[in-house]
Symmetry: C2
Subunit: 322 residues, 2 copies
């Protein structure tokens, strides 16, 4: 068991790399003359939207599940999530042949329930409050002995997410900067540790919606500022930082910038139109920092993490009628 004072090590990320190999995709990197020309920079889009389950969450969940001893694994895993982590954990558990207990609020979208069920996850519904979620998970764990796999505040989850940067820097070792979304901070912290180990001169920047700017405020104040009332279309980035993720972010991340909603929506559309790939609002946030000129990028080589591609195709933020 890891204590809160233990940090994320490079060794743990390397172990994650080996452990998840063949169980998740090595995702492609896309480039575009059109987007480069608009930015006046060289952009390298790491396509985690094309990852298993449609999001980077497959990496961390798979690493956490396969890091368990056989004795631990036999009792299953548990989490509370109605998002990509839930599907990722259900899939990883299925790969290992164990049970994933997923606590979800009763108002979770049908599509999210369906993706957990498709992977054979056991869904336990609870009232849509943070207290109900936590008490329900605690009860499930007490009853089953399952191991909690937190969506982000877990060193093995963070290590798994960090493998994204290892692949990106293998493909493009001369990057000047990596832009990564920040919600709970699992991906940003993993990427920061990996990237700074491999290339100490690289800049790692977190990007978050202005309407959910807790990470930016936490980074500036030096203590975790919880996100109480997030207002953003980027549903994956509404969470607050955890103590483990914040510790790495303070140590390794160069800055956290915020972007307005209009930039998130127009950036999402631009990626769909030009790269011809589906990115969810949260996944468009780092490119929005470039498009909205929130940081200097001219002439630089910039890795941009497209973190996921899961969203409801029945409506689009740029179609007001729906």
């Amino acid at each position: 068991m890891s204590s809160t004072t233990e940090g994320l090590t490079w060794d743990r990320i390397q172990e994650a790399r080996t452990r998840i190999k063949g169980k998740v995709h090595r995702t492609p990197v896309m480039t575009s003359e059109t987007l480069d020309s608009l930015a006046g920079a060289h952009l390298y889009f790491k396509c985690e939207n094309l990852q298993k389950v449609g999001a980077f969450k497959a990496r961390g969940a798979t690493n956490a599940v396969f890091a368990l001893s056989d004795a631990e694994a036999s009792k299953g895993v548990a989490t509370h999530s109605s998002g990509n982590h839930a599907a990722a954990l259900a899939r990883a558990a299925k790969l290992r042949g164990i049970t994933a207990h997923i606590v979800m609020p009763t108002n979770a979208p049908k599509a999210k329930q369906a993706s957990v069920s498709r992977y054979g996850g056991r869904i336990i519904f609870c009232e849509p409050t943070q207290e109900a979620r936590e008490s329900t998970v605690a009860r499930v764990i007490a009853e089953t002995g399952a191991t909690l796999v937190h969506p982000y505040n877990d060193l093995n989850v963070m290590a798994g997410q960090g493998t994204t940067a290892v692949e990106l820097l293998e493909d493009y070792p001369d990057l000047d900067m990596i832009l990564c979304p920040v919600g709970g901070g699992g991906q940003l912290s993993g990427i920061a540790v990996a990237a700074k180990t491999l290339k100490p001169t690289i800049r790692v920047i977190g990007v978050e919606p202005a309407g959910a700017d807790d990470a930016s405020r936490s980074f500036r104040s030096g203590h975790i500022v919880p996100m109480l009332n997030p207002k953003t279309i980027a549903d994956g980035l509404r969470t607050s930082l955890g103590d483990k993720t914040f510790a790495e972010i303070r140590r390794h991340v160069d800055d956290i910038v915020t972007v307005p909603e209009e930039a998130i929506i127009s950036s999402m559309r631009k990626i769909w139109e030009v790269l011809k790939i589906i990115v969810e609002p949260s996944g468009a946030v780092p490119y929005a920092a470039v498009a909205a000129e929130k940081l200097p990028v001219k002439g630089q080589k910039i890795g941009i993490v497209l973190s996921g591609g899961n969203l409801d195709l029945d409506s689009y933020p740029w179609i007001s009628a729906s």
Copy 2:
């Protein structure tokens, strides 16, 4: 100059391969456990929606432009098209540093005009009738000495499109079948010649909308049946076959099947949702033949050509309100 009796040769496709290398993408092939499981087959999606200009048309246009002698090239190229071929020809001409004269109807969508202009193409507007298009192109050619590059009924264009199958069979030599959309037949004829040369036992099947079933009727009757009043969302497949494309299709294609509009729309959405990539209606037509069970596929390895990804993101066929 090629006569109508000359056919598309394997040599011409090999020359095209060499000529366009580095000027267009070698596109990726995507697979999906989810879609395989739904089909009961192994599906290999050749992503021409991720091609330069967002469509396979980049291959043929680039081959045709770079096949010109310097003397021919100096006078430019011309075509009538309001679709992907127009943008592809403009881009290829820009790469060679020559002028592309693009005749477009006055009612062509602004987005199509913009994509031609972005590549520096010279747009000449005409009335939105077939007669006006042809007479305007003839006038432009008379005035400039430009070479006509027909959107599909041109051996160099067909040869360029055929390179798609060469790449696909290099990556997956044990395919049992290739499914390809058919409009004017440039892509289907090129792919059929290439695939049957490389692997005579492979089956090559054309797929078209039931509302634009001229290729199927031509194939069955043995003579070109023109498409007079096409009714389909698949705007790239509303054209009639040409004599050069039809000759190769009769010789090398095993069958042409049709799919209903509902299957095209639901297949397009399925590809967006599962593969996380944008495919235009025409590009979803071959997968629709699998989804709608229009041919036996169980247990087989099937190459599916996703021909393009250009469409207006302001509306979606599955959102009735817009």
